[in-house]
Symmetry: D2
Subunit: 325 residues, 4 copies
């Protein structure tokens, strides 16, 4: 059992629904095990500036259901430098912090990995990103909420698309990953899905529209951001050119995907890995992300977690094709 | 009591949540009063093409809660011509339709007015548009749902804005009216609101941002579409230029505002004016819109309804200023 | 202009969504006009105990969208006594509070009226209750949210009722008022509505069920609590006895009706009357409730506001009958 | 490859959100593979009565997002008899149905198993129940939606509980399983959870309340229905007796848990197993349920699927204890 006395806790990178549930879980389980918790505001930026405060069990009352992160988040240029990280480490020492829990995505863990190697401080990570683009966990905190937010929005779009017999290109987030587009495409009954990982491109969309049923009163094309065919406006432009008869519209869902009350599954996931993170630090883990694989707690080195070789299940694309007939 | 035997019912123009509740109310109250109902698909377009079908009370079962319109909607170029309208009238006669209920906004009523003057057929209108830009009713069917959809979205955006200390420009619908932006701006706790009707412009936004509290962790600027300062991207560009220190983002909510399950108030409004429309036809009304003023059924000539001189309550803008301190 | 220096602000009675929006509006507009605000926790109870704290504009940041009341609420037996009220007044004096804004319903205003007569302190009230049972305002803060919550719930119940061909008795809140049941009954497409104000009773329900269409796959009966025919279990028991062929179920929606993010209209209402309350105190108003009638700010004496002679629009019951054919 | 020509499709038992998504998936994938589909209304009851109709790809348009089941569901006493099952089989033959897809829970599969043994017809099942009480799938269709519905409701209850400093006993569904209570208890931040599977009882609740933090402004106790300590009213009565100082309230969420738009995950699950069911029939599977284990399609004999020995992860109860400090 490693003797940890004071855990520094922060969120970093893009915010995700469920981060507050994870914060609550870390704070309460630390206190449960007799460990103090210091909240660090705005990620590495706040660490460098020493923007820290002691947290108690009441600090996290009534936050499990809130979107965003009460610890706020930011990106830090300074932390990318050796000097910045030294400043951060000095602040941690000054505040008697002897372990860290980092909630975030791959940028967060890239920083955490370097920091954990340069300085003698155990760091454990929790997967907090709507993009679901980390290895070592079936789902990241925020993904389930984000896909439900997308579905709510596309169901609304479907109402108006049906009324007007329209085709909509709906662009969703995901950074370099098509995982949000993939599941929401199935769940929204999309005609086809364009994601960065697939070899298909705009021509596959054309083909699908040509072969597809003509008597459908609405069509949704789900597009992941940052694909090789351009954004929704560009894809829309090409479809309009090729299919002038369609009444084609574009909707970029944008930042609504980052907010909102976390779903039940995101809260449960955040609670489980939050408790496990504190227990992991007590058990001597370091430089690892705590995830959930096959419904069991799993540890993955930061190095592996950020590898980004998430495979796209080819069945999913087949299902979209079958179900949109 | 005018002897009406068969009401032709259609939705036209942009769809709005609650149109189905209005359709249900018209169909059921007509049947209640012993009148037949013929559904006309895709507004004036379907009227010209004779795309019609008899509706019974089961045709409208379980639709009160659905967004969109089961009668579908469209815009018709042909109906703008005398020839088109003659074709439409011939189809009505062919189908023994001797009265019309038109659900839509000002384009719909412009057509209805001309049609009702050219041909001897009573037409009554129901205000169905999310924009709330009709005279003769306190609220239009769809407005209440749309502003709640906007609020849901902006609450989500607020979550992420708070986490990142960001300023968001949120663009909402309204065509030429700022009424969606106005109420949602108050309800979202916006810093300021830019609407077509106000004399203020982007400089008022600049001033507000300069005078405003610097320690706020997030700021929302609510922008109505089609304003004189350009769309959200343009306004965002100008704010970024003037306030480079703000982390400024843009969100255009788009077509999600048109869909979704109608709110309770929209369903009640649609049900009340739907019943009243049938009773009005029986009582000899024609060329009028049925609205709700001060919670009572009110009739307004189509001519007056589409006048578009909706006054913006100046108190609302004052309230935004006071409450965003 | 009355010179008010420090407003004591509290919520009392049953909580309602939008109370936080009202709190925010009072605090910010007071500060805008150079007046201090003292928050009083748990209504009259906290007033007696001196449970008070200064509020600034940041105290009410990011609360406009939250259900419940950050000032908490309670019922106070002690305040019903002269001694209790004297203690309360002493505490106000001790804290230099020279005016009060009370957010609540008729219990709150009954207390406020007596207090304002006994002691020389201006009191202004804001209508905060989901029941909509106050005179002097078209709607109370919380009503619109509550009816939308009911509709969300009944839409879900309708899904399962349709699948199983069931009849559901749904009991909603309202204390002695049927206003929640009335609008939600229309909006949910209820078969019939049982409310305390109507002369109809369980026999009217029987009659309706006998005359009604037999081929309907689901039926909803909307029941206001505290009616003369008993609660939903009792009404359900009688229906089962009379109509053994129906698969009859009961659902009491309960306290979910009190919570949740306030609707757009509730936030706008709360914001408008909140600002108006502060302006009213400055203009010398006292012993009045600030409401909204026909979309304009209106003042009503506490005495009149709590009179409870809210008329039920008979058209509403007619509409339910027509639309459920 | 087994030559299947016409699949009979039905839903049975309690309805669950996502059943329509499953229906859509079965119909469209059957058609994709050149197989006809016959819809059977009201489960085994409709099978016996021959209440059947041919389905095409348009029959399932725009239903993926709807709660309930368009095929309706019922329980059948007659199917429990040999004679009833013979009638059902005769109807299938008459309608040229040579395979069945059954969507439901353990009652459905109990019937399917017997039927599939008695008669020479391949039957494949899809897990459709909110209770998540089947072996052979990580989650059942409807569970994810139901737990989100519970969370939405409890978040609302939390709002009012916080405002009034109350303790709420919230009763959720689950038949004999505590799985709904378990995950929602964690996600709602419950004080403690009472489920049929746990050895703990009301005394554990008493102990928890005695040891727990006294300064908490609200407490939620999550109770699964059909537990050994009685329903929420009985548990509430005992708590009131033991802790008269608490302001204790009861909420039974009831049938709202069965309805509503299915969550993204439920739609994806339903779509995947729906496609797999048709492929399974083509590949000669029979008497098996198609589930998803570790994100992969998995087949389980009906006999095993209904065994009901779902283990409760003890970590979950530990987590509730830790996080409610």
């Amino acid at each position: 059992m490693t003797q940890i006395k004071n855990i520094g806790l922060f969120t970093s990178g893009g915010d995700a629904p469920g981060m507050n549930a994870a914060i609550r879980a870390v704070v309460r389980s630390a206190i449960y095990y007799g460990i103090e918790v210091t909240g660090i505001r705005r990620g590495y930026e706040g660490m460098i500036k020493g923007d820290m405060f002691p947290m108690d069990r009441k600090s996290v009352s009534n936050i499990i259901q809130r979107g965003g992160t009460i610890l706020k988040t930011a990106r830090s240029e300074q932390f990318r430098t050796k000097e910045g990280r030294q400043l951060a480490y000095d602040q941690l020492k000054k505040n008697n912090i002897d372990a860290l829990v980092a909630i975030g995505g791959d940028g967060t863990f890239t920083g955490a990995r370097i920091f954990g190697e340069e300085f003698d401080i155990p760091v454990v990570g929790l997967p907090g990103t709507i993009d679901n683009d980390l290895c070592g966990t079936d789902f990241t905190i925020g993904y389930d909420t984000a896909i439900n937010t997308v579905i709510d929005a596309v169901d609304k779009i479907r109402d108006t698309a049906e009324s007007h017999d329209r085709l909509f290109i709906v662009e969703v987030m995901g950074r370099d990953s098509g995982l949000i587009a993939l599941r929401t495409g199935i769940a929204a009954g999309a005609e086809t899905i364009l994601i960065p990982e697939s070899k298909t491109d705009i021509n596959a969309v054309f083909e699908r529209l040509e072969k597809g049923r003509k008597d459908k009163s609405s069509k949704i094309i789900m597009l992941a951001e940052n694909g090789k065919d351009g954004d929704a406006f560009e894809v829309g432009r090409q479809i309009k050119e090729k299919f002038p008869n369609y009444d084609t519209r574009v909707s970029i869902l944008g930042h609504i995907q980052r907010g909102g009350r976390p779903s039940c599954m995101d809260r449960v996931l955040a609670s489980r890995v939050g408790v496990a993170a504190v227990e992991a630090l007590r058990n001597g883990h370091r430089n690892e992300m705590v995830g959930l694989i096959h419904n069991e707690i799993a540890f993955t080195s930061f190095e592996h977690a950020i590898k980004h070789n998430i495979d796209i299940n080819p069945d999913f694309l087949k299902i979209v094709e079958i179900l949109s007939i």
